[in-house]
Symmetry: C2
Subunit: 378 residues, 2 copies
């Protein structure tokens, strides 16, 4: 397996307004994207990769700065499961993100100031509609596959529902057909932490030259707990004390006693330094709102009735955020529709985060599936 | 089953200093407590009830104000599982609490100002030592039983370890021999929310005439999610919209869309109005620190080797905070020590909170156990 090496993000501007599910409208907007590999002559080898909460169009390869590898660099590249020697892979940054596509940090043409909290709430379906326009511009009528993990999997599923003729394969990993009350609850606590941080300034913190760092940190810590499995946390951290090498005793203060505290606070700090609070708020709302069965009286089978793609659905045994049970709901609804679907429930210790991590069985499942797709392309 | 009717809290002052596990010392202190029923002539029918995170000495009966029933009023009273016609029951408020026993809101004799964050961190073992002094004063050499749920169960377990001759029965419900990394993680996020609230003022918010309401609210929301089961939340709230009767559509803003958001924010608001932030911090630390096996190289069997009580251990199937597995660790360590132990794993939908709720099977288990204890007393 080789490396993609240096990759370069591109920007595409859209002057046509985008009507959003909320009824609001984005007058014009820019989408950031990256491509890897070469589009073949009949444009049949394109793969779209959709990102999850905190990721971006930078799926694979790296930038000139160190430590800038793409978030799915283990999955996408020459000779990798999604083989860029055979496929033309597109990574795209969603609207409302803080990584380049039009979002809350950009200037609202109506006011001349950053959108802030005035950036319209966008849904998974809105993202997919915007992605379809980018595909139009690139001349891609039909993707060989649309693929994503977690929130990215919701986008892949929406592609299959909204544009059944525009993808041959739909790959949905560690995802769910809708958030549970518990999932929503965790998102709402995270949002409350941000919204009540005095440095949030009702979303207009940019002009105050601050960021709601504490709120974002707490939000990320909560999120992070739900990404890891209980067992994995127990094994990696357990009750290990940070000062184990020294006193190996409790500090009896509100500083850091346990390694797990140190780890989570570090993750929270790091996140609050690069992620935008308004983006966090709106992406968690997009998660909460996703529920394609909703307009079919809650019937997922009906929601998936118009799909034409073939499906690969994968879940991880220790994922308690979007458990295997949630993936099986998708699989069962597809089977009820007599869709062709492969399902892999991967026994992996790493909880929800497993979809981003190296795991031989997981990688082999995806590789085998893409080998099959490649036969159709060649 | 009758009601205890009006009950009256009592205060007991202790002038003898209490040396704490941290090495700090409380010069003098007051403990609030309540008693129900009558202590018999040989003082053999006393039962001590230990409280969990947000509760108090007000276990049963009610005060003059409405809605002031004790937190375990379904469990303790005339004809109830812990029958006050037969037992003399004591509810006690722990040190550091905000319900009357000496805590962060009280005046620190060293400074003449409220302790605030300067109140020394107290451990489960410290609480038990203070409870033992109250028992001394009441002339109770040996309890018929010491009983508690969750954090209260940890105190009961500590009684069995610290004062093996002072209790005949130890009743440990919905508890654990130590917090997991995930448990600690949730506690630490909650603490971070409080500590970073600008209204916390390093713990001295009393003199600023504010409370860190937002931090406490977020802390409580996080806690509350872990008290409920995933299934129970799904059944009670699911994805129900708060405006279901009106538009039954998303609001596309950061207000309240889902019933679960409304419920949790309400719980958070309510809690932040009556609970003290410093108390929340120190009680979560007591939870984190509890680990009786620690000084025995992590061997719980060794930690319980000196116990003499008989045990009732109970857990609830959907409790994912302190799962049945954690209770079974206690049971197995007791069995290894050839202690007499009854174990009930109750199939109940309500998660960790089940230990506070009415459930016929649960109540019957406790009732049957106390019937057995009553035979020894009579």
């Amino acid at each position: 397996m080789g490396s993609l090496g240096l990759v370069t993000p591109q920007a595409m501007h859209f002057a046509e307004p985008l009507l959003l599910q909320s009824g609001a409208q984005l007058g014009d907007y820019t989408l950031m994207y990256e491509t890897y590999g070469t589009l073949n002559a009949d444009k049949s080898n394109a793969v779209l990769i959709c990102h999850a909460l905190n990721a971006s169009h930078h799926v694979a390869g790296h930038y000139a700065t160190p430590k800038s590898a793409g978030w799915w660099d283990n999955m996408v590249g020459p000779g990798k499961p999604v083989d860029t020697d055979r496929f033309f892979v597109i990574g795209i940054n969603n609207l409302g993100s803080c990584f380049g596509s039009t979002g809350p940090m950009h200037v609202n043409p109506a006011t001349g100031k950053p959108y802030g909290a005035a950036f319209p709430l966008v849904t998974v379906e809105d993202w997919v509609a915007a992605q379809a326009r980018l595909a139009d511009r690139l001349g891609i009528e039909q993707f060989a596959a649309v693929m994503g993990g977690s929130l990215g999997g919701m986008q892949a599923l929406s592609w299959a529902i909204m544009y059944p003729d525009r993808l041959r394969h739909c790959i949905v990993i560690a995802s769910t057909p809708k958030l549970s009350a518990q999932n929503i609850a965790f998102n709402d606590v995270a949002r409350q932490a941000i919204l009540t941080d005095p440095d949030y300034h009702g979303g207009d913190f940019y002009e105050h030259d601050v960021v709601p760092k504490n709120g974002l940190k707490v939000a990320r810590m909560i999120g992070h707990i739900t990404y890891l499995s209980n067992d994995d946390m127990a094994e990696k951290f357990g009750r290990k004390l940070r000062n184990a090498a020294e006193t190996n005793d409790y500090n009896f203060d509100f500083g850091i006693d346990f390694e797990i505290e140190s780890y989570l606070r570090y993750q929270g700090d790091k996140f609050s330094e690069y992620f935008d609070a308004n983006t966090y708020l709106l992406i968690t709302k997009a998660l909460d709102y996703f529920d394609p069965a909703r307009e079919h009286g809650g019937d997922l089978t009906k929601a998936l009735a118009g799909t034409k793609a073939q499906f690969l659905v994968a879940s991880f045994s220790t994922d308690w955020r979007f458990s295997p049970e949630r993936s099986r709901e998708i699989v069962e609804a597809l089977i009820s529709n007599r869709r062709r679907v492969s399902y892999a429930e991967i026994d992996a210790p790493h909880g929800h985060d497993a979809f981003l991590l190296e795991d031989a069985r997981y990688m082999n499942v995806v590789r085998a599936y893409y080998n099959r797709i490649a036969l159709e392309v060649a």
